[in-house]
Amino acid sequence: MSTTPFTPQNDATVTADVRHTDAMCTNESELNHPWWYNFKYMAIGIVFGIVFVKAEVVSWFRIQEMFQLTSFHMYGVIGTAVMVGMLSIALIKKFQVKSIYGETITIDDKKFNKGQIIGGLIFGTGWAITGACPGPLYAQIGAGFLPVFVTLFSALVGTWVYAYLRPKLPH
């Protein structure tokens, strides 16, 4: 067990650092848990990966159908997910639900910058070529589509090149 004393709501005092720049999913939790506490996120990931493959979200064909407007499937998946997510967050806010460790659940506001448009267009272009956004990349590799290792590695290179060029890019 961690020896760090636990104080709820201590996250408000933490100043933002660069992790939060251009990212949705960083967090300010100051809880200092042993590393194996993270296995619960792996469990969620496993369910998520199974759903991705079983609903064929990882299929290159499904992505082509989406962008050729020949099937409702992907719109149904994303639309339902957004509805469920929206309702969940509304309920969490309304009832001020806390995390299982008693932390206040916080969601930072995202600031607009031009990257969301330029980067978004670039991302969408890649999405239709590879048939995968980052989540399905992992699931495809797990499902045995070995060439996707190359795609994932290339996505890492793309991420690194963005980090390198960032000061020169319009935001």
Binding site: I44, G49, T80
Partner: protein, 188 residues
């Protein structure tokens, strides 16, 4: 039961589970659903190269790596223990167009014409894996998130910049699938 699980799952079931990931991560540890950040964490772990964008304590975000390894394991389980015995169905109109482009293998989740190991060191591999992957990684980070972080987490928490990003994703995809890909397929 196993037979039912082996069938392709309905979009509403998939949407429900994917949507529930949002509150699950929030309640389990105040974590915000997002996947493309894992790519950034891997860069920060391996080649930070003194870049300010990669200079942060990635250990604080290690949960995200556990999550994506889980997604990979989930893909393995689904494919090995729950795989669909029947061929994957593709909408007739899309199938007809893809046949025109020269795709011949239907039935799997990914066309073997493109996603085969032999293609890794070919011009096709260069376009579909190397170029495509680069755009996904570069674009997601430039946009500040991918489909999960913006389209699902961002819109769910009513952030309009995420809606803008999602519209840009879709426009990029429409352009790519309908204008760029037909040109790319002419090369092969």
């Amino acid at each position: 039961m196993l037979e039912l699980l082996r069938q392709p799952w309905h979009w509403s079931v998939a949407g429900l589970f994917i949507g529930l990931t949002v509150p699950a991560l929030l309640i389990l540890g105040n974590k915000k659903f997002g996947i493309s950040s894992s790519l950034r964490h891997m860069c920060a772990m391996t080649v930070p190269a003194g870049l300010s964008f990669l200079k942060y304590d990635w250990k604080k975000e290690i949960w995200n790596m556990f999550f994506v390894v889980g997604v990979l394991i989930g893909g393995f389980i689904a494919n090995n223990f729950l795989s669909n015995p029947d061929a994957v169905e593709v909408a007739a109109a899309t199938k007809a167009r893809l046949v025109e482009y020269g795709i011949t293998s239907f039935g799997s989740l990914m066309p073997a014409d493109i996603f085969s190991v032999e293609n890794i060191f070919s011009a096709k591999g260069l376009v579909f894996f190397v170029f495509g992957g680069f755009l996904v990684g570069f674009g997601a980070r430039y946009a500040g998130g991918c489909t999960s972080g913006h389209a699902i987490m961002g819109i769910s928490s009513l952030q309009w910049p995420s809606l803008v990003a999602t519209i840009a994703f879709m426009l990029g995809g429409f352009f790519s699938a309908n204008i760029l890909l037909p040109l790319i397929f002419k090369l092969f």
